[in-house]
C-alpha cells in the first residue's frame, strides 16, 4: 500500500505543485475551476438532499445516466457526427437521469416495494442497460476512441478546455438556484406537509430538488464519474452537519468542504498523470468527514463525549455532597460519614467514589479523616445545602407538574436538576416557595432512609 502511494508521490517537483496550486498552468486552470465549482454546487444541493433523507436516491440517478451517455453517443454517430460532442452526451445523461427518476417514483407510488428495493432496481437495471449500450457503442465505427467508460470513474484530465468551460458556469447556476430556493427547500425538508397547507407545491419542490441533484450528477460525470459523484453530494453535507445547528451555516460549510476537496483533487489529478480525479476528491471529502465526525464543534464525537464526561462528573460531585449533607441534616451537615455508609448511599464503585473524594478534597469541599470517613468543610456545606435545595425543589416540581421533556424523560429527578439553568431554578422557587414560606430548605417530600437509600427514594426508583 505504501509502495503504491510512494510511486504516486515521487513524481512532481515543488515548483510544479506551487504552479498548479496558483493555477499558473493554463491547461489545468479550466479543469480546476470546473471541479471546484462542482464541489460547491454538490455541497449546497447535497445539504438539502441529506436533510430530505434521500441520500441514496442520488446514487440511483447517477447510475441511470450511463445508458443516456451511450445512447447519446450512438444517436450522434447515426446522425453522422463523431459522437464525441460533450453537450450531446450530457443531454443524453440528463434525459436518462430523469427517466430513472420517473421509474423510481412510479415504483414507489404503485407497488408495495420499499424505497431501498426501488433504488436497487433502478440502479442496477439502468447500469446493466448502460453496460450493454456502451459495448454496442464501442463496436460502432469511431466508438472505441470515445472512451465512454471515463464517465464511470471520471478522469478530469481528459476534459478539453472548450468543453469544460461551461461546466463551472452550470455548477454556479445550480448553486444559485439552490440558494434562491433556500427558504422553500428548508420548508420542504423540515415540514413538507405544513408547507403544503400554505399552498407550496411540495411535489414540484421535490422534483426541483431532484433536478438540482441530477444537474450536479451530470456536471460531475466527466471529472468524478457516475459511481462516485454521489459521494460529492452526500459526504460534504454529512460532514457539515457536525459543525453547526443552523441550516444556513451548514450549507456554507458543506459548500466550502466540497470546493476545497474539488480544488485539491483536481490539482492532484493535474500533477499526477494517472491519478484518478474522482476517487481522490472523494477521499479528500472522506478525510474531512472523518475529522468532522470526531472533532465537529456541535455534534462531533469528542464534543459529545466531553459533554457527557463533564456532566457525569458534576452529577457525581453533587451526589456525594448531598449524601454527606443529608446524612447529618439535623446538624446542618456537620459530622463525619463512614466510607462504607457512603458506598451504600449510591450505586458507585469503590474506584469512582475514591476519585470523587480526591477531587472534592482538592477543591476544599470535604475533609477526610484517617479512618476513611469524610465530612463537609464550611465551603462544602454551603454548596451541599444549595444542591439539596435544588434537588428537592425539582422533585416537588415533578410531583406537582410532571413536565415531560422528550429528551429528558428517561432521566430521573437527580439527573435533571443538573441540567437546569439558574432561570429555571428561580422559577421553581417561585412556584413552590409559598408552600414552605418558613423554611430556607424544604423538607424532603419523601422519607430519607440512609440504610438503603436507593430502595425507598421515589426519585431514584423512577
Amino acid at each position: 500500500m505504501n509502495a503504491a502511494l510512494l510511486t504516486l508521490a515521487a513524481l512532481p517537483g515543488w515548483s510544479a505543485v506551487v504552479d498548479a496550486l496558483l493555477l499558473k498552468e493554463h491547461n489545468t486552470r479550466v479543469v480546476v475551476l470546473g471541479v471546484t465549482c462542482l464541489g460547491l454546487a454538490a455541497g449546497v444541493a447535497g445539504t438539502f438532499l441529506l436533510l430530505r433523507k434521500r441520500s441514496l436516491t442520488a446514487d440511483a440517478l447517477a447510475h441511470a445516466t450511463l445508458p443516456g451517455v451511450a445512447l447519446g453517443f450512438i444517436v450522434m454517430v447515426l446522425a453522422g457526427g463523431s459522437g464525441k460532442s460533450m453537450p450531446g452526451l450530457l443531454v443524453g445523461a440528463f434525459v436518462f437521469g430523469l427517466l430513472g427518476m420517473g421509474w423510481l417514483m412510479a415504483i414507489r407510488r404503485t407497488t408495495r416495494l420499499k424505497d431501498d428495493a426501488a433504488l436497487g432496481i433502478v440502479l442496477s437495471v439502468t447500469f446493466g442497460l448502460g453496460m450493454a449500450l456502451v459495448k454496442i457503442a464501442e463496436t460502432t465505427p469511431g466508438g472505441s476512441a470515445a472512451g465512454l467508460d471515463r464517465f464511470i470513474v471520471g478522469r478530469a484530465a481528459s476534459m478539453l478546455e472548450a468543453e469544460a468551460i461551461w461546466l463551472p458556469v452550470a455548477a454556479v447556476v445550480v448553486t444559485l438556484v439552490a440558494l434562491l430556493l433556500f427558504k422553500e427547500l428548508k420548508l420542504l425538508c423540515f415540514d413538507g406537509a405544513y408547507g403544503a397547507t400554505q399552498g407550496w407545491p411540495t411535489g414540484l419542490l421535490d422534483a426541483l430538488l431532484m433536478g438540482l441533484v441530477l444537474a450536479v450528477t451530470v456536471i460531475g460525470l466527466q471529472s468524478v464519474g457516475m459511481l462516485l459523484v454521489v459521494a460529492l453530494l452526500i459526504v460534504p453535507a454529512a460532514a457539515a452537519r457536525f459543525w453547526t445547528q443552523r441550516l444556513g451555516v451548514m450549507v456554507v460549510v458543506a459548500g466550502v468542504i466540497g470546493m476545497v476537496s474539488g480544488y485539491l483533487g483536481a490539482i492532484a489529478s493535474a500533477l499526477f498523470a494517472n491519478a484518478p480525479t474522482g476517487p481522490i476528491i472523494v477521499l479528500l471529502c472522506s478525510v474531512m468527514f472523518g475529522v468532522s465526525l470526531v472533532f465537529g464543534a456541535r455534534r462531533g464525537v469528542v464534543v459529545r463525549v466531553a459533554r457527557h464526561v463533564r456532566l457525569a462528573r458534576r452529577i457525581g460531585r453533587q451526589h456525594l455532597l448531598r449524601a454527606l449533607y443529608e446524612m447529618h441534616e439535623g446538624t446542618d451537615g456537620v459530622g463525619h460519614v463512614s466510607r462504607s455508609r457512603l458506598m451504600r448511599a449510591r450505586s458507585w464503585s469503590a474506584g469512582q467514589l475514591r476519585r470523587l473524594m480526591v477531587r472534592l478534597v482538592r477543591e476544599g469541599l470535604i475533609r477526610r479523616a484517617a479512618d476513611g470517613s469524610a465530612a463537609l468543610t464550611e465551603q462544602g456545606r454551603v454548596a451541599a445545602r444549595r444542591y439539596v435545595r435544588n434537588h428537592r425543589l425539582w422533585e416537588m416540581y415533578l410531583i406537582e407538574h410532571a413536565d415531560i421533556a422528550p429528551s429528558h424523560v428517561d432521566r430521573d429527578a437527580d439527573a435533571i436538576e443538573h441540567v437546569l439553568g439558574d432561570a429555571m431554578i428561580e422559577r421553581l422557587e417561585q412556584l413552590l416557595a409559598q408552600r414552605f414560606p418558613q423554611m430556607a430548605l424544604p423538607a424532603s417530600p419523601h422519607p430519607i432512609d440512609f440504610v438503603d437509600a436507593r430502595e425507598t427514594r421515589p426519585a431514584d426508583v423512577r
Partner: protein, 281 residues
C-alpha cells in the same frame, strides 16, 4: 303512476325511489369551515365515513373520540394533506384551495424531525413563508413578526435554541407560534395538549381564549375528556362518523360518549373491511 310523473329519470336515479337523498346547499355561506359528505380511506380502508360539519364562527371547537377514530385524519383531509374519497371542504364559503391564507395548521409534534438544523425562531418564521412568496428571502420584518409570536407564547427567551433542545411543551409552543404568525382566521390544531407540561397547557388555553376574543375560530383535536367541558364551547364527538356535534353542554352526555367510545360499530367496521378487500383482486 302519478308518483312517477313528478320524477324525471335523473331524479329517480338520485334517490333511487327512496326519499330525496340530500339537500345540498344548506350551509351558511360564511361558516369558517364546512365539511360536506367527506369520506376518507387509508390504504383502502375507510377511516372517516360521510362526515358533515359546520364549524361556527368565533368558537373553540374540540374534536374528541377514541384512538383511530379519524380525528387527525379529519383535519388532514380538510387541508388536502390526505386524499379524500369524496367530499367538499369550504372555508368561509369558498373552496379551501382559494382560502389557504385564512387557515393555519398546527400539526402533531411527532410529525417532524426535531433534530433538524434550525432554531425556534426559524421554525416560527416558516409561518410567514406563505406571505413572502417564491424565491424572496426572509426580511427583518418577518423575523420580527415571528419573534412577536414567540413572545405571545412565552418563548422569546428560547428564540435561538436549536429545536431539539426544547422540552415537549416548548416545542408545542413553537408550533403554536408558527400558526399565530400566519394571522389566520381559522386554526386547526392536532393534539396541541399531548405530552405538554401544566404550564404549557395553561398557556395554550390562554392563547385559545385570546384567539376567540379576537374573533378567530379554532378547531382542536383533543384526547383528554376531563378538560373538555372547561376548554371548549363546542364539541364534535367522532368515531369514523360524527356521533354528535353541538354546544359542549348539550353534546357532552353519557349517552353520546357511550355511542362514541362504546362498541356497537362491529358491523360497520366489518363492512368497511369488506369494502377495502373488494378493491383487491
Amino acid at each position: 303512476m302519478s308518483l312517477m310523473t313528478n320524477h324525471t329519470p335523473q331524479r329517480l336515479h338520485a334517490d333511487a325511489c327512496e326519499l330525496p337523498q340530500r339537500q345540498v346547499p344548506r350551509h351558511p355561506a360564511d361558516a369558517p369551515l364546512s365539511i360536506h359528505d367527506m369520506t376518507v380511506a387509508y390504504h383502502r380502508k375507510p377511516v372517516l365515513w360521510d362526515v358533515d360539519l359546520d364549524i361556527p364562527q368565533g368558537k373553540l371547537v374540540g374534536i374528541v373520540g377514541p384512538n383511530g377514530a379519524g380525528k387527525s385524519t379529519l383535519l388532514k383531509a380538510a387541508l388536502d394533506l390526505v386524499p379524500k374519497v369524496s367530499g367538499r371542504v369550504l372555508v368561509y364559503g369558498k373552496p379551501y384551495k382559494k382560502q389557504r391564507r385564512m387557515v393555519a395548521y398546527v400539526p402533531q409534534r411527532e410529525s417532524v424531525d426535531w433534530d433538524f438544523p434550525v432554531d425556534a425562531l426559524d421554525v416560527v418564521t416558516m409561518g410567514t413563508y406563505g406571505r413572502i412568496g417564491w424565491c424572496v428571502p426572509v426580511f427583518r420584518k418577518h423575523r420580527r413578526a415571528a419573534l412577536e409570536a414567540l413572545e405571545r407564547v412565552g418563548m422569546a427567551d428560547y428564540a435561538h435554541r436549536q429545536i431539539s433542545q426544547l422540552s415537549g411543551g416548548q416545542q408545542q409552543r413553537v408550533f403554536l407560534a408558527r400558526a399565530l404568525v400566519q394571522d389566520a382566521q381559522l386554526y386547526l390544531m392536532d393534539e396541541p395538549f399531548a405530552g405538554v407540561d401544566a404550564a404549557t397547557e395553561r398557556a395554550i388555553v390562554t392563547l385559545l381564549h385570546d384567539l376567540r376574543a379576537a374573533g378567530r375560530t379554532v378547531l382542536v383535536v383533543h384526547h383528554d375528556l376531563q378538560t373538555v367541558r372547561e376548554y371548549f364551547d363546542q364539541l364534535i364527538l367522532l368515531n369514523m362518523r360524527v356521533v354528535a356535534h353541538g354546544p359542549t353542554d348539550e353534546v357532552f352526555t353519557d349517552a353520546n360518549l357511550h355511542a362514541t367510545y362504546g362498541g356497537r360499530l362491529t358491523l360497520l367496521s366489518e363492512a368497511a373491511e369488506a369494502l377495502a378487500q373488494q378493491e383487491r383482486p
